[in-house]
Amino acid sequence: MSAVYGTLQHTPDAEDATTASAVTEPATTTPPVAAKPAFNAKDKLGALMRWLIPPILGLALFIGVWALIAQETANLPGPYATWQSAVELFAHPFYNNGPNDQGIGWNILYSLYRVGIGFGLAALVGIPLGFMIGRFKFLSDMTGPIISLLRPVSPLAWLPIGLLVFKQAEPASIYVIFISSIWPMIINTAVGVRQIPQDYLNVARVLNLSEWKVFTRILFPAVLPHVLTGIRLSIGIAWLVIVAAEMLTGGVGIGFWVWDEWNNLNVAHIIIAIFVVGIVGLLLEQMLVFIAKRFTYE
């Protein structure tokens, strides 16, 4: 603690000394003073390199293997051909030539919109339900068998039921997102509520806090990290599922786009789509990791 404080205080002093001495007698003092920042910069550069080189090496290896396989396989475009195709594709991401021919940007946005609605509804239902299941043993025992039974069902198995009930592709795919992404949120929230240390609840009892204060000051903050873990798992699942669901239901969306390009035998676009799906999924995940970090107290 004191050491940190010491360095914090020391740094500006050293800088002041640098500028002051540089003004008064530059010739004599400049070399030793300049040496230290240079060493620091070198150190930082080294750290940056150590951080950057392994992933770059991995990517290069991946692209190399891909190029090799592409060379041996007819019709599989290599990295360079895919790159050229991507440049062309992303030059006009938001063109619109009717319902079956729209830019990649529209396709991504439509998929995100479906995920947003389906996942949002799942969160609205799943998190409060998880709270109640965690709080009341009776409810937990009641819902336990149903959750255990339905949770392992493959998401796409729900699609025919959705189509049957909603008679339309759009609500059916949103419903598939909903039903497959709700489980992690219910389960994680319920586990979080059950794992609240008895000490905190004793504090609530000793202080005789009102129900509202117990919820806002104890239950909610204690469970929040678990809820965020559930949300993270759920959004990952939702993004996995939407691509598959759209392949089956059609319409505008990244999943259907992949299927459409397969029918057009445009393999480069399929590879681009795979990258796009991966990058969007990564961004969604990172966004939630960032939010989760802001709300963890440990």
Binding site: Y200, V203, R205, V206, N208, K213, P221, Y297
Partner: protein, 263 residues
């Protein structure tokens, strides 16, 4: 002197999977205002259970428990509890942890600035004004325990209940906090019930030491009055024959009359 805490014929039985467990029997204890009582005994003798009855966290199976002439029904802010593991909420700062308690007790009568003043005063009392914006995980174990004590004291409880408050601390920190506790109790004239398994701590701090027999069906074996003059100084007491005499009485009770087979 007013009888402040009164326990009459308290019996506690827990129903467990293996049947009924008789934890405490025939507890009779009355505590005057401003007195410092410690409960001492081997682990498993029900000291914490007894404290929890006064706190209202545990109901007695039989008998009556009174605090300030009223029957104890559930926990209440007039009985401040300091937990063994501090039990501060990790997502609140030290200030907010105490403010939560202050707001609950005085929020209906006093304005925000008065509530904040009370919180500041409580932190100042335990010497932690500089740490008010820190969260519990950013401060040491001794400091956490001091915040726990400040939280209990800020509620201006009629009785301060402490469950092995210094049990998890190292010896030096413990001695330091014992000295501080003595000063605080002298200044606030608090009535205190404290559970401990440390004989020196019991003799140093208390007016009366309640020595408990071994469980199951534990009860009060003997109550020892500690008539050492106050304020007490641990260095002076180290050479005080009367202190050693009292200490031996407790040790004798614990290790001769209530010796436990090695668990």
């Amino acid at each position: 002197m007013e009888k402040f805490v009164q326990l009459d014929n308290i019996d506690v039985k827990f129903s467990t999977k293996k049947g009924v467990f008789h934890a405490l029997r025939d507890i009779n204890l009355s505590i005057d205002q401003g007195q410092f009582f410690t409960l001492i005994g081997h682990s498993g003798c029900g000291k914490s259970t007894l404290l929890n009855i006064v706190a209202g966290l545990q109901d007695a199976t039989e008998g009556t428990a009174l605090c300030a002439g009223r029957e104890i029904k559930g926990p209440g802010p007039e009985r401040g509890v300091v937990f063994q593991n501090h039990s501060l909420l990790p997502w609140l700062t030290c200030f907010d942890n105490i403010y939560l308690a202050v707001e609950r007790v005085f929020g209906s009568k006093e304005g925000k600035s008065k509530l904040k003043q009370r919180t500041h005063d409580a932190l100042a009392l335990v010497g932690l004004t500089h740490a008010e914006h820190k969260r519990p995980q950013e401060i040491s174990g001794g400091m956490k325990q001091r915040v726990g004590i400040a939280r209990a004291l800020a509620m201006e409880p009629k009785v301060l209940l402490m469950d092995e408050p210094f049990g998890a601390l190292d010896a030096l920190t413990r001695a330091h906090l014992q000295d501080e506790l003595m000063k605080i109790v002298a200044a606030t004239q608090s009535t205190v019930i404290m559970v401990t398994h440390d004989v020196d701590e019991a003799v140093l701090l208390s007016d009366h030491i309640v020595m408990m027999t071994n469980g199951p069906a534990a009860t009060i074996g003997e109550i020892l009055a500690v008539d050492l003059p106050k304020p007490r100084d641990r260095l002076a007491l180290a050479n005080d024959p009367h202190y050693h005499q009292l200490r031996s009485r407790v040790l004798e009770f614990l290790y001769q009359r209530q010796m436990r087979p090695a668990a």
